[in-house]
Symmetry: C2
Subunit: 214 residues, 2 copies
DNA sequence: GCGCTTTCGCTACGCGTCGTAGCGTAATGC
DNA sequence: GCATTACGCTACGACGCGTAGCGAAAGCGC
């Protein structure tokens, strides 16, 4: 986020209600118009605020949509379903359900596209969306380790690399399936994905990062 | 593509050179300006053609960029490197190299974003990019089967589903790694990815699509 | 060669959005 | 009450969009 109380001092405080109204209006506009036809003037009208107010809080369309979309992914949870496989399937289905919503589809990909030429924007996406949800991988692994389904990781750096790999594979596969291949990430598909992932991670006889076994 | 000879009959033929010049100019503009600041007027100037000529051939920015980017992915090849693991690593590294180029980064993600609200555009992407490169998966699997690294697939429908899953996982993971996580898909990472994928696919004791083993 | 057909380059236009400036007003803290 | 900041509103120049209309060029069939 970026508002709350600006910092220390006096003057009229920024309306917190305006923030939520603007972000909700942005999502509504994404549903109705999509990214390309979304205009800040329209968002301002929907939110019931002046266009200048919007520009005082966000630098432009990119930053606004990042914040509007980021809130969607905070819904993700990782309830204990008893096994690592079921945990993975559950969270992947949640992720797929979010990506099925039009405000997430068009908004997320568009800002990622813009972020390829805007380092500040990419960092904003990373901190407010990606890194924020990487907790799910860490939590799931830790839970699986206490269950005994995964061995403890002695090397912290290697553990971090593996977590990043898993995140990229899961998130990337679901995004590619739903947005590029344009097919639903239904139960069957998620089960297959989980199967491949689980077997690939658990049945390693040797350390894959070790070059002498390749 | 969409031009060549319009169809049957007389009149001045469309300049094939103009097509290639326009697509090259589009990629150059993507490098210099990115998707959002790319204008069709600028592309026309770079290509040395009139803006009206451009509109006679492409409906808009989306279709133009799809065609311009699609040509990049036709470079992908699958040379026989002796083993399935090496084949996978080779093609993934090629794919990553293409995605490292700025014209592919911003262009591809942007049109995918637009395609979430434009079925015709999504179909254009699928036929001219996605389905076109799925050949790599099929070819790699066939080669691995003749090597004896993979068992033959009795069920054709199941084989197609598996190929789609692999494609979504590989393409999605590389895209997510390079564009969202913004880290290079270098040799170490590709080896880890291949390792997980290979173990996940080969060490299944039973049919994962069969519900009675779940 | 000659005419028919289609493309091409060019200019000009109305339309919509952008992002900002300026001003008066509203809501706080001290 | 007074300084300070946020807000709503209006107006503005700039720019890209996508199209229309024109004369000229480049092929094909005869």
């Amino acid at each position: 986020m970026q508002s709350s109380t600006p910092a220390g001092r006096a003057g009229r405080p920024r309306s917190a209600a305006a923030d939520t109204a603007i972000l909700a209006a942005t999502r509504a506009a994404l549903v109705d118009l999509g990214w390309s036809k979304l205009t800040l003037g329209d968002v301002a009208t929907r939110a019931g605020v002046a266009k200048t107010t919007l520009y005082r809080r966000w630098a432009g369309k990119n930053e606004l949509v990042v914040d509007a979309v980021a809130e969607l992914f905070d819904e993700l949870e990782l309830p204990d379903r008893g096994s690592l496989a079921d945990d993975i399937e559950g969270v992947v289905l949640q992720f797929a359900a979010i990506l099925a919503r039009p405000e997430a589809r068009s908004g997320l990909m568009a800002v990622v596209a813009e972020s390829t030429r805007d380092d500040a924007l990419r960092e904003r996406i990373r901190t407010s969306i990606v890194e924020r949800q990487k907790r799910l991988v860490l939590e799931g692994r830790a839970r699986a380790q206490t269950r005994g389904e995964l061995p403890p990781e002695p090397d912290a750096a290697e553990a971090a690399r593996t977590a990043d790999l898993i995140f990229d594979m899961v998130a990337g596969a679901v995004v590619h399936r739903t947005l590029v291949s344009a097919e639903a990430a239904n139960g069957d598909w998620v089960r297959s994905l989980t199967q491949v992932l689980l077997w690939g991670l658990t049945s390693r006889p040797t350390d894959p990062a070790d070059p002498d076994d390749a």
